[in-house]
């Protein structure tokens, strides 16, 4: 059994906190935030270059900055933060000690070393191959090496998480089943193992190819396996940020899942079906059959989408039920109007939920429809879509949960509370703009990853419609706003960690936490006693938008040249 001295009790929540786990959560979260700052800065440079009137960087620097942006935010920021979430959802939420903290530090060191090595490779200039590094375009060997080391470190992190679950069960630190949030984190970790295995299968041969030991990597095979990593890693993000939504809803408004069974089934669908999504990137490739494309791109008849649509109702539904229990029963949306909108954790979480569903979810399904992909593949519609999922969805959710982790784990009060309060709104508006304007430009055909849509240096000429140039300008403005929101987040978080008022602690005595608000929401089955009409209306609006937008795009498709 663990020594009691290595635990402390959080005075606010009553959670028992394992100090080595706490130190690891701190290290991973802080490193994540540092890379968010670096990657976000590169992102701003990219957006300002694509703003035709500004056209900030020269071509070589643009492609370098775009490569670095993708790696630092999509890979490094998100995965470091996810490791912090895994440790939190296991050791902290289960009142357990963390398995093998020393090994966890080794994993952390590998991830950090890998991230730094890959960044060095990119900054040296010889590896501007984009995040996807499609062969036969070749990067420097240490570009691939860094990514591999990072992945091995992350795999160790997943192992620590699984180990901690086993320890918690053996040492009986909790009763019954693991909490829903931990279940969501478990989903993320299981998908992560699949993801990292796919990454190893393709990146190790590619590393050998880059140093001359392997003569040929088939480009189509590379893409198929690479995206088994690349897209699945986005499903890690989805699982993790849905778990974060549930956690924030529980902590801030005392929300309880409407039905444990339904929410857990929805997570299970992610594990079973999300891995098929490699196909989303192969819909207009040669040599792959339509049958394969249709089955895989739809996650076997949209069963993973079903999972997300379920969470899309159960998360706001649980919030509505909790709010109504508290007496906010006025009309359809009284519960929503009286929600704690000035709490950045809640505001960020709820906007993450709405933007992920409306912008990211709907556009993702449309983009991933076999034939509709013809009018969207590799246009700016693609980054427009995934900025809604990964930035407005995942990043905003992670920012929101940070406002809870700072007092709980770092034991500091937030500084600049006003700035913190505004931060999620500024960031959400900025990111929505980025996403919408890029999707707009993409609908007009504008290519992604492109330095000059004016084609000034080409022998032949072509002009995109003037609206496309307007969209790119608006995208630049939105990016400035999002960058401001990102900066506000970093200032508040770093400021709080360094200068925030310390929150006192008490020695570990109480065993399990009995969160006070849980009791207020009733024993079980809030939906049994309360209806959730507001959520039903919200879901109805979502569904209508989904159906209309889906068929509008079939209409667009039907207008292009017939081809077969």
């Amino acid at each position: 059994m663990a020594n009691a001295a290595v635990f402390r009790t959080c005075p606010a929540t009553g959670l028992k906190i394992h100090r080595p786990a706490e130190a690891l959560i701190k290290a991973n979260a802080v490193t994540a935030v540092v890379f968010l700052a670096v990657g976000g800065f590169f992102g701003l440079l990219v957006a300002l270059t694509r703003w035709p009137a500004v056209h900030l960087l020269p071509a070589d620097w643009f492609y370098l900055a775009l490569t670095a942006h993708g790696l630092d935010v999509l890979l490094v920021w998100i995965i470091f933060f996810e490791i912090a979430i895994l440790y939190f959802a296991s050791a902290i939420l289960l009142n357990s000690r963390l398995a093998a903290p020393k090994l966890a530090w080794v994993g952390f060191a590998l991830m950090l070393a890998g991230a730094v090595i890959t960044n060095v490779a990119v900054l040296q200039g010889g590896s501007s191959v984009m995040f996807t590094s499609y062969v036969p375009m070749k990067a420097a060997p240490h570009f691939y090496l860094g990514v591999i080391l990072f992945a091995v470190g992350a795999l160790i992190g997943c192992g620590i998480f699984f180990g901690t679950l086993v320890i918690a069960r053996q040492e009986r630190t909790y009763k019954g089943s693991i909490p829903l949030v931990t279940f969501g984190a478990l989903t993320a970790a299981i998908i992560a193992v699949f993801t990292i295995a796919s990454g190893a299968i393709i990146l190790i041969p590619t590393l050998l190819w880059s140093i001359g030991l392997v003569s040929y990597i088939d480009p189509l095979m590379y893409k198929t396996v690479w995206w088994a990593m690349g897209h699945s890693s986005q499903q890690i993000n989805v699982s993790a940020h849905v778990a974060v939504w549930y956690a924030i809803a529980a902590i801030v408004v005392g929300a309880k899942p409407l039905s444990e069974k339904v929410s857990r089934m929805a997570f299970l669908m992610y594990i079973l079906f999300l891995q098929l999504a490699s196909a989303h990137h192969l819909l207009v490739e040669p040599g792959i059959s339509s049958e394969w494309k249709i089955f895989n791109t739809s996650y076997a008849m949209y069963l993973a989408v079903l999972g997300s649509m379920i969470h899309g109702m159960t998360v706001p539904g649980s919030i509505e039920a909790a709010q109504r229990k508290k007496g906010y029963t006025n009309g359809l949306f009284g519960w929503l109007a009286k929600a704690p909108w000035s709490n950045p954790a809640f505001a960020g979480m709820f906007m993450s939920l709405v933007l992920f569903g409306f912008l990211g979810g709907i556009s993702g399904v449309v983009l991933g429809t076999e034939q509709i992909n013809l009018i969207m593949h590799n246009t700016l519609y693609v980054p427009g879509h995934f900025h809604a999922t990964v930035v407005a969805g995942t990043t905003l959710a992670f920012m929101a949960v940070t406002y809870l982790l700072v007092p709980l784990i770092f034991q500091r009060e937030l500084v600049l509370k006003k700035v913190a309060q505004w931060q999620p709104y500024v960031f959400a508006v900025g990111v929505s703009g980025i996403s919408l304007f890029m999707m707009g430009a993409g609908t007009l055909g504008v290519a992604r990853r492109h330095w000059d849509i004016g084609f000034a240096d080409s022998l032949l000429s072509f002009d995109y419609p003037a609206t496309a140039f307007l969209m790119m300008g608006l995208n630049g403005l939105a990016a400035i706003l999002a960058a401001l929101g990102g900066l506000m987040y970093i200032v508040v978080v770093v400021g709080s960690i360094l200068f925030g008022k310390r929150i006192g602690e008490q020695p570990a005595e109480r065993p399990a936490p009995v969160p006070t608000e849980a009791a207020a929401v009733g024993a079980y089955g809030s939906a049994e006693t309360l209806s959730i009409p507001g959520t039903v209306v919200l879901v109805g609006v979502f569904f209508t938008a989904f159906v209309l937008y889906y068929f509008v795009n079939w209409k667009y498709l039907s207008e292009v040249w017939p081809l077969q």
């Binding site: 071509a59 909490p179 444990e260 008849m301 539904g317």
Partner: protein
């Protein structure tokens, strides 16, 4: 609460609330609609990709393209041959760093079998302003049967990053009455 173990130990025997059940059924059915829509479009729609593709080599593909250019070139434009192959024929388009070669000229409402491949890295075939986007791989020859239905001047923009000259890579397709 979601951050503590389920209060009901045997949570998997909880009844599913009706609101959730209805939504699950609607969402599931909608998934089926979207799934069968793709199959339906293969039968009734006019915009589908064939499954026709072949392994090729840069040499073999260049040879076939050059044969077509030698036979059907009608004029020259900034150093590119403009090729007007007969309707129904096999047409070849090379993607390479950093150009599409040659320039093609089609007749409106006629059908062509367009073969595309890359001689070096991956490229993107983005036909503008129609907005048809395909991926071009080296070593693979993709065959698309297309029927231009409007006359005009069209551009092929590379939309897969292919190195420092990527943003200069455009080609032309003319469609005449």
């Amino acid at each position: 609460m979601a951050i503590s173990p389920p209060s009901q130990r045997i949570w998997w025997k909880e009844p599913i609330p009706k609101t959730e059940l209805v939504w699950i059924i609607i969402a599931f059915l909608w998934g089926l609609v979207m799934f069968f829509m793709m199959i339906y479009w293969h039968i009734a729609g006019e915009q589908n990709l064939s499954n026709e593709a072949y392994r090729t080599t840069p040499e073999a593909f260049t040879e076939k393209t050059q044969a077509m250019v030698a036979q059907y070139t009608v004029r020259d434009e900034v150093g590119f041959p403009v090729v007007a192959p007969p309707p129904g024929s096999d047409v070849y388009l090379i993607a390479r760093l950093w150009q599409f070669w040659p320039i093609l000229e089609f007749k409106k409402d006629q059908t062509y079998r367009l073969h595309i491949s890359s001689l070096d890295w991956q490229h993107g075939f983005s036909l503008q302003p129609v907005n048809i986007n395909l991926q071009i791989h080296p070593g693979y020859e993709m065959v698309v049967t297309l029927t231009p239905d409007k006359a005009g001047e069209y551009s092929v923009v590379c939309n897969e990053f292919c190195g420092i000259g990527h943003h200069t890579m455009i080609g032309k397709i003319y469609v005449t009455e």
